[in-house]
Structure formats: structure tokens, C-alpha cells
Symmetry: C2
Subunit: 331 residues, 2 copies
DNA sequence: TTGTAGGCGTTATCAG
DNA sequence: CTGATAACGCCTACAA
């Protein structure tokens, strides 16, 4: 910076102004400084900037991935891609963090913030409990939950897609097609997602005048676990006629189990997914699914966090994004 | 830091030592300082550290993802997960970057380094040309290529899996099973991967005594493009008996096209993939594939970059990781 | 084994 | 509109 100042014949403060508030300079000085900046290929040191500014233009994205989840969960990948692009547009940077065996979630989050590594965090912790969230809330660390918190009254920023509504739509769709024996191949019990899906389906069943049989089964959101469950379910004497899956990967297990049992989709058994990540393309017949547009989650979360970091005091974030049904040929 | 020093009754320098070189302190002082650190929950400010140290313990991972690639390419996701974990173990941080429409690759890389955002970069640019690489090399930006550079004589650090050997193995496997009419469903032309695969298969064909018919087709590494190609290929009068795919996603398109044409795998047509990411699980019958252990790429690359950043002067990185064949039931 | 002085590269504040 | 001065929080070098 001093080199630039010397070359331009101004003080270093003027160089700073040329970078941060060019409108405060006279056109002539600005031009001079800019030429010097280009000539020397000067780039401000962001470490020095955040030291002087006391603001860190970096967002941390936390994803507690295990090997299994990494391989099958395209949601995480899509999320990081979206957030990364959004950050870049605002001169922010995205940092990735994952679970650390010898440090609790909350401790890690606090540390990252106190070390000024990040200005705030985006958290995808499907199992973070109320106590942990409360602790984090009282610690001044800015954060946004991806997915809704277990206790809805908690005063916390979050974004989610409306999974309950999605499940409701999915169930209604099957009911309208005449199905009266429905199974929900759900996510693991500990995920709040799993509650949302169940309640959505149940509500649809209750709204239906006639009696409906409803079975819920928790999978691990992996192909292996889903396939095992579906094989058992299809072989059982009480095979449902319609299946709602938490995920398009699970829908593939329905297809496979049906193939093995020589059942046709949708004639013998119908499938609908409340979520479609990349597995969707591979499904045959084309999968009826709830289109969550989950890419929006990352955008909303990142946008909010950047405002918080820049001290723009945005209103609390309690966003539940709407979803819609896309009919394929599997129902 | 000053607060800690005051509380412990020492100078701030001693606090610094307690953090960075505890062995230089007497046990008594160290204990005192540590107690103060815990009491005040002190965490060093990393921005100040890198300013004073002139070293940035951050690694940038660049992935030029488009929407399509994001959804289908689990390689990228797996890579970021691996690197993220490895970084965390050494108190490094991973930052994610993607292509920016109004800035060239090289310009972006230089900027990130000059701004001291990252200490070095890991680059997954399947199409970066020799000129760009040369320009980057002469710019003092530390970087490691993921995948080999187009010009092998370029004096550049890189890690790759031995795709040529993998393709060679795959072709040999088919030849040993008696196939004499082989097709390679390859990656896009511009990727160096695509050359490697072709050369591996060709070598295997030449080594075979008898004449072998070999067809190469470039896909876009997406389900849609692969399926189109496979439908045409299977319908044509010169349908190959064995197919080598660049990817397990492409292997799924073979399966689908075969199903549609009522061909059985492996009796009527055999499939083998030179790479298996997460799609592998979904394939039926179990996919014969080259096991690249590509997770190792991220580890090797990150490990090297951290040494470079810490000025440990590691030897040049010219690593081509070995691969092995895993036989399934699709050949 | 510990403390002091000075600097890392930037910005805020206050004068002019 | 521009410049001087003092931080920002830490570390290196040197001195004691």
C-alpha cells in the first residue's frame, strides 16, 4: 500500500480511500491512484483489513458428514456449491467445516468465531438438540440453522423447506389416485425432517373421509438400508399400494425391490418422493416427487448471514420455503 | 491477550509463548497462563496471527462447477469432504471457490493469493490449458493440480489416479472374457482423463494377439447424454459386446438402454466402469469397476500444500496413484 | 526463563 | 478533499 502511495504521490490513507470509498476522492487523485494500483498489481491484504475493521467477511458452512453421508447425500454438495457462488458475489468467502471427534459441536462453533476465522456459521446439524442450540444462542456467535430446530419456539434463525406441506401433498396425491394403504419410508428418527414428513402424511390421511392404513418405517437414508426394508415390506402379506419416500435414493430402492418381486410401477405399487436430489434422473419410470427447490435454502441462509456480518441488522430469519408437486409416471 | 497477561501477572509475550511454544516456559508460569486463558476463554485472533507471521493457514479448493456437474458429480463432493477433514487435523481451513464469469481462472487464483486469502490452491480444472498453467506457474502462487496437466513435461505439482492403467485393466478384463468388440463410453474430449482412458484401452487391444474392434464415443458425463448415446449404440447393427464407461453414472445408462432393448447384463452385453463414485451402489447387477480409491487424491494434495505453506519445502509432487480392479457381476 | 520495542498492512479519527 | 497519528492483535528479535 505504501508503494502504491509513493508511486501515486499521495498518502497511504488516500490509497485506502481509493479502494473503499472512491467517491471521497477527486477524480484526478483517484485516477492517479488507480493507475498505480494497476501498475503494481496491488491487492489489499484481507487479514490486515479484518484486523483493522473488526469484521470477518467469511462464512463457515458446517456439515457433519460421515463417509456414508458424503457418498449419497447430494444435498450437502448442492448446498456448498450454492453458498459458495452466493458468497463470491458479495466478496465473501466460504469455509467448510466438519465434525471433529474430540471437540463438541458447540465448542467448535464458538472457537471458530472467537478465533475470528468466520463472521458467522451456517449449520446443517440434523440432530443438534435444544440444549446445545440454547447454549450457542447465548454465546454471541451468529448462526443460521439449515432445517428447522427441534423446538419451534426457540428464538433462532433458520431456513427450511416446507417438508410437512410436501409430505401432505404427496399423501394427498396418492389418496386422490385411490390408494388406501400407504407406507412412508422415512428418514432416521432423530432428524426433525422425519417428524415433519410423518405429520404431513398423517394429516392428509385424517382429512380423507374413508379409513386409510398408514405405516411408517425409518430408514438410514442409504440405499442399503432402504433396500432391506423395501424387500421385507414388499414380501410381507400386508404390502402397501403406495409408498412415500423421504428421498429419491430411497425411491430407487422401491423400484429395485419391486423389480425383484416382478411388480410393476405404478400399476402394482406407486412411489412418490418428498425430495429429489440428483438420483431422480436415474429413476425409471419418471419419479413423481415434491419439488422443494432446496437450492434456495443456501441462498437465503447466506444472504441473511452476510447482512448480519455487515451489521445491517436484518429481521429474524424464520423462513419455510414453499414446495410444489411434480407429477411423473411412478404414481 | 493483554487481559490474559494481566490476569496471569505476566507480559503478553509470555501468553504468546504459552500458546505457540509452551516448552520455553517454566511449568509454573505455563500453568498460571493456561488458567488465565481458560478463565477468560481466550482464543488467538487468526487474522492477527497471519499478519504477524506472514503465513496463511488456509487452503483454497477450486471447483468450476456448473449446475449439471454439481448434481451428478460426487467426485467433487467427496474431494471437498476429504480435504476438509485433512485440513482440520492440521489446524488449517478449507475455502471453497468456483468459477467467476467476469474473471479468468488465472486472474482469480492470483488475486486470492495476493489478497492473502489462501496460502495455496488445489485446482480441479479439467480444461486448464498449457498457457494458463504456465502463466500461473510463473506467478509464485502455490498450487496443486487435481488430475494431470495436459502437457506432462510442465514443471507442475499434481496428483492423479492412474486412469490409463485403470482403462488398460478394464479392457484386459473384457478381452480375457472373450470380448472382441469393445466400446469406450468416454468423458468429454477436452478432459485429459479422456485421453488417458483411450490410450489405456488401445494399448490393451494392441497387446491382444487377435484383432479387436474398438469404438470410442465421448459423452458429457451426464445421464442424459449417456443414455442417448447408448440407445443409439445398442440399436445399431454393430452393437459391441463389451462396454467400458468413464464413470458409474454412465454404466447406469448402459443398464437402462440394455433393459429397454431387452438385453441382459452380462450375457448379452458386458459393462465395466473405470471409476466408481456413489452411483455404484444402485447398479444391478453389481458393477465390475476399477477401484481408484480417489479419496486419496484429496489427502495427498492437501498434505503437500500444507507442507508448502509451512515452508517445509517438500519435493515436487508428481503422484499417480495406483488402482485395482474389483470384479462384480456385470462382466 | 521472561520482558521490551517495533513491525505486520490496513483503517478510524481528527485536523487542516 | 487529503494527510498524520494511533490503533487492530499478534509475533520476531533482542535484551535482561
Amino acid at each position: 500500500m505504501n508503494d502504491v502511495a509513493r508511486l501515486a504521490g499521495v498518502s497511504s490513507q488516500t490509497v485506502s480511500r481509493a479502494v473503499n470509498s472512491p467517491n471521497l476522492l477527486s477524480p484526478a487523485t483517484l485516477a492517479k491512484v488507480r493507475r498505480a494500483i494497476d501498475l503494481l498489481d496491488y491487492h489489499p491484504n484481507v487479514a490486515a483489513q479484518s484486523l483493522a475493521n473488526r469484521t470477518v467477511k467469511m462464512i463457515g458452512l458446517f456439515m457433519p458428514f460421515t463417509q456414508e453421508q458424503v457418498k449419497s447425500n447430494m444435498f450437502f454438495h448442492s448446498l456448498s456449491a450454492t453458498v459458495c457462488q452466493r458468497c463470491a458475489q458479495h466478496d465473501f468467502v466460504l469455509q467448510l467445516f466438519t465434525a471433529n471427534p474430540d471437540e463438541s459441536y458447540v465448542r467448535l462453533f464458538k472457537r471458530l468465531y472467537r478465533e475470528k476465522r468466520v463472521g458467522g456459521l451456517l449449520l446443517t446439524c440434523p440432530s443438534m438438540n435444544t440444549k446445545e442450540i440454547g447454549e450457542l444462542r447465548s454465546s454471541a456467535v451468529p448462526f443460521v440453522l439449515i432445517g428447522r430446530p427441534a423446538a419451534p419456539d426457540l428464538d433462532v434463525d433458520y431456513v427450511d423447506v416446507d417438508n410437512a406441506a410436501g409430505a401432505h401433498m404427496a399423501a394427498q396425491h396418492l389418496l386422490n389416485k385411490g390408494h388406501r394403504d400407504i407406507a412412508l419410508l422415512n428418514a432416521p428418527k432423530f432428524m426433525t425432517l422425519s417428524e415433519d414428513l410423518r405429520s404431513g402424511v398423517q394429516r392428509a390421511c385424517q382429512e380423507q373421509g374413508e379409513p386409510v392404513r398408514f405405516t411408517e418405517i425409518h430408514s438410514e437414508l442409504t440405499y442399503k438400508s432402504g433396500l432391506e426394508i423395501m424387500r421385507r415390506l414388499i414380501a410381507s402379506d400386508s404390502r402397501p399400494t403406495g409408498i412415500i419416500t423421504a428421498d429419491d435414493l430411497l425411491a430407487l430402492t422401491v423400484k429395485r425391490a419391486a423389480d425383484e418381486a416382478r411388480l410393476r410401477i405404478p400399476e402394482d405399487i406407486a412411489v412418490i418422493s418428498t425430495f429429489a436430489s440428483g438420483w431422480y434422473d436415474v429413476m425409471e419410470p419418471e419419479l413423481t416427487h415434491v419439488d422443494t427447490g432446496f437450492e434456495r435454502i443456501g441462498i437465503v441462509a447466506a444472504e441473511h448471514m452476510m447482512k448480519v456480518i455487515l451489521k445491517k441488522n436484518p429481521p429474524p430469519l424464520r423462513t419455510v420455503l414453499d414446495v410444489k408437486l411434480t407429477e411423473g409416471k411412478s404414481t
